[in-house]
């Protein structure tokens, strides 16, 4: 049973889904803490999990041909033929529909943002732009910012500057995450014919973009956290973590190495997770 389920589990990229889920929960709790509504939290968690998992599976379904050409991804269940494409498509659609349906049932605006996140990610980013331009990641970033915006909107009852700033924080964080990855697996992306920032603008310009983007991400997270009313102690921790991110980004510009690049990629994920935890607690 477990052996049969394992390929399906890897379809949803559990770590990435978990990180995005945590941003949605943080967005909600940033508006509602310390008020804690268990029913809403469960609904929020479930709808986000289903939607994010669904869109991830749909992306995997669409990109199965390029995954098969890349060393890093050729063992993925769809690329390696462990799961039939139609089966994955049906599962992706089902999870997405369930997620959006539950979200709409909870709150129409919340549901609309969740739907927009899936649409931007699957249709605009993966299907339309990913194979055409390196700038497609902007839309990947916008869709990545949707869970935290949706969570905030659900908690606050509408759009506010904090929700927008939080999603901008994610949007600016995405390049740090994706571009360090596309430098690490430069040959893979090149073999698959996917335009990336490193292949289009070179490594140095990519590193500068990452550094600038990290500055904006840190500023956005800082402003939003201040707006939420985060305590001074937590703000200090966030400041320290942000300085760590900016320092690594600066080192990667002035003394670039493979190791620094990998460190920045990992640190960026830890930074985001830590920021979300600080907002939640």
């Amino acid at each position: 049973m477990l052996t049969k389920l394992r390929p399906y589990w890897s379809l949803i990229k559990s770590l990435q889904t978990g990180l995005l889920l945590s941003t949605g929960l943080a967005g909600y709790m940033s508006a509602r803490c310390p008020v804690f509504n268990l029913g809403t939290m469960v609904g929020l968690g479930l709808s986000l999990f289903l939607s994010i998992s669904g869109s991830t599976i749909l992306n995997m379904w669409w990109d199965r041909d390029i995954d098969a050409r890349m060393t890093r991804t050729k063992k993925r269940p769809l690329a390696s033929g462990q799961i039939a494409p139609n089966e994955a498509l049906r599962l992706g659609l089902l999870l997405s529909l369930l997620g959006v349906g539950l979200a709409v049932a909870m709150d129409a605006l919340y549901g609309l943002i969740i739907f927009a996140g899936i649409f931007f990610d699957v249709v605009i980013y993966s299907m339309w732009l990913k194979r055409r331009t390196a700038w497609g990641i902007i839309w990947g970033g916008i869709s990545g910012g949707m869970p935290i915006l949706a969570g905030r909107v659900l908690g606050f009852g509408g759009f506010d500057w904090i929700g927008i700033t939080l999603s901008l924080g994610i949007l600016f964080w995405i390049p740090t995450h994706i571009m360090t990855f596309s430098m690490k697996y430069f040959d893979d992306y090149k073999a698959a014919g996917i335009p990336t920032f490193p292949s289009t603008y070179g490594f140095h310009m990519t590193r500068i973009t990452i550094a600038v983007s990290s500055v904006f991400a840190s500023l956005a997270m800082g402003f939003a956290s201040f707006g939420i009313g985060m305590t001074i102690g937590y703000l200090r921790v966030l400041l320290v973590l942000s300085i760590g991110l900016l320092s690594l980004a600066a080192v990667s510009v002035f003394k670039p190495t493979e190791r620094t690049n990998f460190g920045l990629f990992k640190y960026a994920s830890l930074y985001m997770l830590s920021s979300m935890i600080l907002m939640m607690v």
Partner: protein, 201 residues
Amino acid sequence: MKMSVLDRILLLVTGLLAAYQIAFGIDSSSTLPVIAYTISFGVLLVAGLLLIILGFDVLEAPAVVIVSTLIPLGLATGLVWQYVASIRVIYLVFVLIGLVAIIVTRSFPRKGILPIIVLAVVHGVAGMTIFLLPITLAVTGQAKPGFALVGIGGALIGVGGLLLAFLKSGKPILSQKFIFSVLPGLLLSMTLCFVIGFIIG
């Protein structure tokens, strides 16, 4: 040298303790000590995370000497500013000059013993301050007895500094393997002493 799971756990706990101290442990201080302690524990937090991510190889970076100096300098400055008002400004000037001297001598390496002397003097004074001041305050009743733990943390920071110095000298008295095997535990013990010392002191 490959980092073990236990090492990673020890470093994670070190980072969490440092984060706790930044968030909750320094609010009662005035502005300058808060900044100084934030720098010290902030370096510990980020260093712990980077060690977990990149492994012990990160210690080979030339900037480690400069960045690791911030831990004792920040702590010593905070302590002196809080408890020895009569020399706080002189001490702050010494710390700033010392830090600049270390940055200059390490950024533009030159032959001779000047970089070593600068490092030894600045680290030595800061280390002795962290070691002796809390113990003196505890013994003389100016602080609660538990505050002496901060001094013990200061002693451990000195040991850590010595180990790193051995490592960086290229001719370590102790083997690299030994230094790496004790470093995570040492960092945790040191941070634990500081955090508990500040809480109960």
